[in-house]
Point group: C2
Chain length 335, copies 2
């Protein structure tokens, strides 16, 4: 089948209908559909329409409760805690959003933690949204365990990404860092395993903690962290913020994000929001602008997030090209 060009509005409608068709409430479907649009807008296809059938199947099998109504508590002025009630992460984040932003402005800094949650999609988008509200966003989310501690062989933390987005003082993000703790995404190893291809020697270990280039053995073993023990340290930082502080299940106990088995993953997120106006104020924006200039002004280097921004500029205008078979598959959930 050929490709079809869809506007971002059409992407949204397509995702929304599929999720509602699978049984999600209109509000929950809208939260997730919005994240699908952002992923497509930035050229992150893996988390765009490609993911919609997985979301829909997870509603159908009960891995994500499509009708969950997140419960918000604010035990202290700067602490917003949301129980996602085994639904999607996006509506839970939306439920805590306004209290988080208000608390960050009032106190200078605030945190939103979420438990009984699910995969939150592209983490950088949550950080970027905070930056668009004029706040520094430092976000953490964890995933089923896949990385072993250095020297060990049993996975303890997931590919656990963190994201940082920084406001430019004019309603946009000046930069967005969004990176996982592993050398490579687990999905890449899964692709190699399916294709029967070997993996690079520094990507993973087998179940006994020995280096392997066999993708099948790697999937039964553990992923290597980027930068050795320092990468494991990052994964651990994220685990502590997203799982322990939120009160979510640990990465070791979380059910897989892929497939329909195991019930809700009950993982967690943590979003820290900081108002630069409470700290260095105008100096902050000057320093950020200089930093962006220092990085972007060097030949061969890029400001983190620049590629997504370029994609976004192009795709907002041109729309995205989507495989018709995928469109059909997504439409299949709408009935």
């Amino acid at each position: 089948m050929a490709d079809q060009v869809l506007s971002l509005d059409e992407v949204k409608t397509l995702a929304q209908s599929a999720l509602e068709g699978a049984g999600a409430s209109a509000q929950n479907a809208a939260s997730v559909a919005r994240s699908t649009v952002l992923a497509e807008r930035d050229g992150i296809r893996s988390h765009g329409l490609l993911y919609v059938p997985i979301y829909a199947e997870h509603v159908l099998c009960g891995k994500a409760d499509g009708n969950a109504v997140p419960e918000v508590a604010q035990p202290r002025p700067g602490a917003v805690c949301v129980d996602a009630k085994c639904g999607f992460a996006h509506p839970a984040i939306d439920a805590g959003w306004q209290p988080l932003c208000e608390a960050a402005r009032a106190n200078g800094i605030a945190a939103l933690t979420i438990y009984n949650s699910y995969n939150c999609g592209v983490l950088g988008h949550h950080a970027e949204r905070l930056a668009e509200h004029g706040l520094v966003g430092l976000c953490f989310t964890h995933a089923p365990a896949s990385i072993a501690p250095t020297g060990g062989s049993r996975p303890v933390v997931g590919t656990n990404p963190f994201a940082l987005a920084v406001p430019d003082g004019e309603g946009n993000a000046a930069l967005v860092i969004d990176q996982s703790a592993s050398v490579i995404a687990k999905s890449e190893i899964m692709l190699r395993a399916k294709a029967g291809e070997p993996i690079e020697p520094d990507w993973a270990l087998d179940a006994d903690g020995r280096p392997t280039t066999d993708a099948q053995l790697a999937l039964k073993g553990s992923m290597l962290p980027a930068g050795g023990y320092k990468g494991f340290g990052i994964g651990l930082l994220v685990e502590i913020m997203a799982s322990c502080l939120s009160g979510a299940v640990s990465s070791v106990d979380a059910s897989p994000f892929s497939g329909t088995a195991g019930g809700p993953p009950k993982t967690g997120q943590c979003l820290i929001a900081i108002d630069p106006g409470a700290f260095s104020g105008d100096v902050f924006y000057q320093r950020i602008a200089a930093l962006v200039e220092e990085i972007g002004g060097q030949e061969g280097s890029r400001v983190p997030g620049a590629r997504r921004k370029e994609n976004s500029r192009r795709l907002v205008e041109q729309g995205v090209s989507v495989d018709e078979a995928l469109i059909e598959r997504i439409r299949g959930f709408s009935c």
Copy 2:
């Protein structure tokens, strides 16, 4: 000369006298001497008595104002901002300590930023101290630029470490992560350069951004981040928190921490303190205990901070063995 065994009390007195002898106020000297004791206690010799002559020389040459009186502001309930007034970092952190801890308990989360500051010694000790107060400590400090963005050649961020310490619910730190953004400490490259020895191929780049094993060329070039672009991302996160948010000078503009030239470095720190009781409470301590058990229970792996803890147990009891020539040199400042 031979070595002499000193108790940690004797280490403190020695450091205190040298700093006061160089012209620091008793209070400022005490803050710095306390950090010297902690470094020796944990077996981190580079930041223990070995550093005292540098501190003392920096007081004498004006790189650190020994009589600075830090100024504390609290523009919002969760935002504590300290002007270190070009003195040491330690008294500035001490000055903001109580407001930080009180704000973290009242609000759930709070941040202390410090500008016009100096090298804060072992970052992990500040995080550990927060954990000993029952708070999660997430700390950032920056340093003169030495790491170039991936693909570039001009250093933009320093070796910029972060540290995370986590309370165990019983007054101690359950774990302490303390790691820099670079593959290796800059001091190691300086040692190799002095000895005329080559460096490892993945440690640094020359001034044109090309890999080098020549330590001299590396010192004129840039340090490589651990984990490639992800390590640069960590250095950038730290830069944004410790320099931009605090309003300190950028790493690019900071004067060197070593030597007597360039005046006060005017760098910054950021300490985020979080009260687990405001978020997941008891569940937090259960999750942390399980995580420590998962990591420490694997053959060949270690809980971050375990080595320092082992050193501490031994050295508190046995005292530390110090080169007599160093003791003499430190005593020379006391007169």
